[in-house]
Symmetry: none
Subunit: 89 residues, 3 copies
C-alpha cells in the first residue's frame, strides 16, 4: 500500500535515518572527553606548576577520543551528500 | 493503507526521524561535562587559590567535549532546513 | 503491497540504516579513550618528568581501544560502497 513511494524515496529516507543513527556515536567522545577534562582540572588543582604538561596530555588524549565521533559524522555526511547507495539503484 | 503518502512526504518524514536521532548525541557531552564540573568543583574546594587555573582547564576540556553534540545539532539542522536528500529525489 | 519499492531499493535502504547502526559502536572507544586521557593527565601532573613514558603508554592503550570503532566504520563503509548484499539478490 506504499505504492506512492518510489524506490529512490525509500533509499533516501532510510539514508536520513542512517545518518541520524551514525551521529549517535558522538555520545562516547562527549562522555570520555568530559571525564578527561575532570581529571585534568583536578590535576591542575594539585600541581598548578605542571599545568602546561597536564593540559597538553589532556588535549592529546581527547583528540584520540574524538576520532570515532568524526567517523560517525563522516558517514552521516556521506549518506546525506554523497549518497553512494543511489548509484546502485 | 499508506497509499496516500508521496515520495516527498516519505523522505521528509524520515528526515525528521533522522534529525531527532542525530540529537541523541547530546547525551554524551551532557554527562561528560557534568563529570568535569564535578571534579572541577571538588578541586576548587581543595585548592581555592588555584581556582583560576582549575576553571580554565575545566572550561577548555568541556569545550572539546561539546564538539560531538554540535555535530549532531548541525546534522539535525541540515536535515530540517537544507534538506539535501530532497534534491536527489 | 510495496509495489512502488523495488527489491534493490529495500536492500539498499536497509543498508543505510545498518551502516548508521554500525557506527554507534564508536560510543565505546570514545568513553574508554577519554578515561585513559583523564588518568594520563593525572599521572603527568604527579610525575611530570615521566611525561614521555606516560603519553606513550596512554596512546598505546588508546590505540587498542580504537579497534572496535574501526570495526564499525569498516562495516559501515562496506555496506555503503561494497554492498555485498546486492550481489545475492
Amino acid at each position: 500500500m506504499l505504492q506512492g513511494i518510489s524506490s529512490e524515496a525509500f533509499v533516501l529516507g532510510c539514508s536520513a535515518i542512517g545518518a541520524g543513527l551514525a551521529l549517535i556515536a558522538g555520545i562516547g567522545p562527549g562522555i570520555g572527553q568530559g571525564i578527561a577534562a575532570g581529571y585534568g582540572a583536578q590535576a591542575v588543582g594539585r600541581q598548578p606548576e605542571a599545568k602546561g604538561d597536564i593540559i597538553q596530555t589532556m588535549l592529546l588524549g581527547q583528540a584520540v577520543a574524538e576520532t570515532t565521533g568524526i567517523y560517525g559524522l563522516v558517514i552521516g555526511i556521506i549518506l546525506l551528500f554523497v549518497r553512494p547507495l543511489m548509484g546502485a539503484l
